[in-house]
């Protein structure tokens, strides 16, 4: 439950292209850490190295170390599949399984992990949907397809699916960028509740969002097109947005570029 992430010297490649270079940072448990930076700076790539999703892309390759408490995710003999069972992920576009009902969507991860009795499944599904603030909206139509929900509801369904397996960490890749402002607000409130139980890392293009939801903020940047993205600084969110220690960060958050 809610583990600390400790990254050191992490470099990721797409084939021969170096996407991010030599990133080291610590992500505190039971907190929200936001990644901001201009497009192409590698913040999403970095996020995807934290649950070994990066290597799913053809040519994707990673060097360095990601410690989840005492376990190196890239240690020899570590199965990426089991990593993804403990580090959950929510994507930019809501992606419920289109052929499954709402109930089956939430239960999908559990069914991968083992066999549950029906009553156990029902209890976990209810708890997860409540945890994602979706229960009241869908409790009467759990057997309807998940794809029939609105975009914001679908995204909360995806969050319910991710937290149903009780992951140690929850990664969110621009979870609100496809949603309207009201749905965005609902997700942001939810993030505030979820950080009591999980370690949360969120990539966002919206700096106000980072300021609203996160405890710590990391700013990524790249020197130019084709150059690898780098971590410029990571600090308390308040400090990043009021008095960052690097000039580039201030330029970015004050809208001077990016």
């Amino acid at each position: 439950m809610a583990k600390r992430i400790d990254v050191s010297g992490l470099t990721a490649y797409y084939g021969t292209h170096k996407a991010i270079e030599d990133i080291s940072m610590t992500v505190e448990p039971r907190s929200v850490t936001a990644f901001i930076g201009p497009s192409g700076c590698g913040k999403s790539t970095f996020l995807r190295t934290l649950n070994r999703m990066h290597e799913v892309t053809p040519g994707g390759r990673v060097e360095g170390k990601v410690m989840l408490d005492d376990e190196n995710l890239y240690g020899s003999g570590v199965d990426p599949v089991s990593v993804r069972r403990t580090v959950g992920m929510v994507f930019q576009r809501p992606n419920p399984f289109p052929t499954m009902s709402i109930f089956e969507n939430v239960a999908a991860g559990l069914k991968l992990n083992g066999s549950y009795r029906k009553s156990e499944l029902e209890a976990i599904v209810e708890k997860s949907l409540k945890g994602a603030n979706l229960w009241n909206e869908v409790k009467d139509r759990l057997n309807k397809p998940g794809a029939g929900l609105s975009g914001g509801q679908q995204q909360r369904l995806c969050i319910a699916r991710a937290i149903a397996v009780e992951p140690d960490v929850l990664l969110m890749d621009e979870p609100c960028s496809a949603l309207d402002p009201i749905s965005t607000l609902a997700i942001e409130d939810l993030i505030g509740e979820l950080k009591e139980r999980f370690t949360i890392v969120i990539v966002t293009h919206n700096m106000q969002q980072a300021a609203r939801v996160s405890d710590r903020t990391a700013f990524f940047n790249l020197a130019g097109v084709g150059q690898p993205g780098k971590l410029i600084e990571i600090d308390e969110t308040e400090r990043i947005f009021s008095n960052p220690s690097v000039q580039a960060t201030e330029d970015y958050i004050s809208g001077r570029f990016g």
């Binding site: 403990t86 419920p96 995806c158």
Partner: protein
């Protein structure tokens, strides 16, 4: 000021002018006539074929002294004529079912291998070879079946008979393996390319985000396929199978070359004998007289109806789960 007003007034006046001119253009008129003519011609040709076939079939069936649907013989040379399609319907459906049972799982497996397992270096040539199989003329399959497959299947059939002969349907009395089962195997090979390539295209179109949804939950490659790829591709697999089934039902030359036909429904699928609609038409058409040809046309109409029913059933299966088809997302 004046120059400002002039363009607006001319713009306001021009639209109706443009509209009248566009219908007046010769190119539009010709194209309209051409496309409308083609559409009408298609309907007229279809109607003419249907009317001709139904008319000739009706003549034949009215002269039939036996029950057209249930009679086990095909005597059209003597008068009165006595013929029925029972054996042909049985043989056509059974050989096609055997072909589907063998071909669909293999084709889906190959399609998944090409789209999700094989490295690109291997996937491209494998896909190419499969597509090449579709280009082989059916008579070549027939010759290969008769000269290679038939002699090499006797061993397998003897083995079936030893262990599964008690079932009746897999008993084998020896002799050339020119049976419905052999036809089924040959048809399976023939429909493999079309089922494979249609399934492969569907599997390739599975949105990345559905596969990542499964991956992020900690799904193995097989679980990703089970949770994302197969559900998404379900209706595509059904369509692919129906295309294959259509070919299997109507296949003529290969069946006629391999099968040793008779007008019996044997318990055993392995013993030679039986027949299919298309094979029966091909084998008899040249020697048949006018009445005989009408009888064959009647049998062809039945095949057409069966194909229609199969297609309708497939469409119903696809439509029933449309809500879950994934295109709604």
């Amino acid at each position: 000021m004046k120059t400002d007003i002039e363009p607006t007034s001319s713009a306001a006046g021009s639209p109706p002018k443009v509209r009248t001119r566009s219908t007046g253009r010769a190119g539009d008129k010709i194209f309209l006539a051409l496309s409308r003519g083609s559409g009408i011609a298609l309907l007229v040709i279809m109607a003419a074929i249907a009317a001709f076939l139904t008319y000739r079939a009706a003549i034949a069936i009215s002269k039939d002294e036996a029950n057209f649907l249930t009679y086990f013989e095909w005597n059209t040379g003597s008068s009165p004529m006595r013929f029925g399609i029972a054996v042909l319907a049985y043989g056509t459906i059974v050989s096609s079912i055997i072909a589907m049972v063998i071909a669909v799982p293999v084709a889906v497996g190959i399609a998944l291998f090409i789209s999700h397992y094989a490295p690109r270096r291997l996937a491209t040539p494998v896909a190419y070879v499969i597509d090449l199989l579709a280009a082989v003329p059916s008579i070549v399959y027939g010759l290969w079946g008769a000269l290679f497959l038939v002699p090499h299947l006797t061993g397998l059939y003897t083995w079936f008979d030893d262990y599964l002969g008690w079932t009746g349907i897999l008993s084998y009395q020896g002799g050339a393996a020119r049976s419905l089962f052999t036809v089924g195997i040959l048809l399976a090979i023939m429909i493999l390319p079309i089922v494979t390539s249609v399934s492969r295209e569907v599997f390739r179109q599975v949105p990345k985000m559905h596969e990542e949804a499964a991956l992020a939950l900690g799904a193995t490659r097989w679980e990703v396929i089970r949770m994302s790829v197969l559900p998404f591709g379900r209706s595509g697999i059904i369509s692919a199978s129906m295309l294959g089934l259509g070919r299997a039902l109507g296949e003529t030359m290969a069946v006629a070359t391999v099968l040793s036909p008779n007008f019996l429904i044997e318990t055993s699928l392995l013993d030679p004998g039986g027949g299919t609609f298309a094979q029966n038409i091909a084998s008899r058409f040249k020697e048949a007289g006018n009445d005989g040809r009408d009888a064959l046309i009647a049998s062809g109409l039945v095949l057409f109806v069966i194909t229609l029913l199969v297609n309708g059933a497939a469409r119903m299966i696809i439509a029933r789960r449309k809500e879950y088809s994934g295109t709604a997302a």
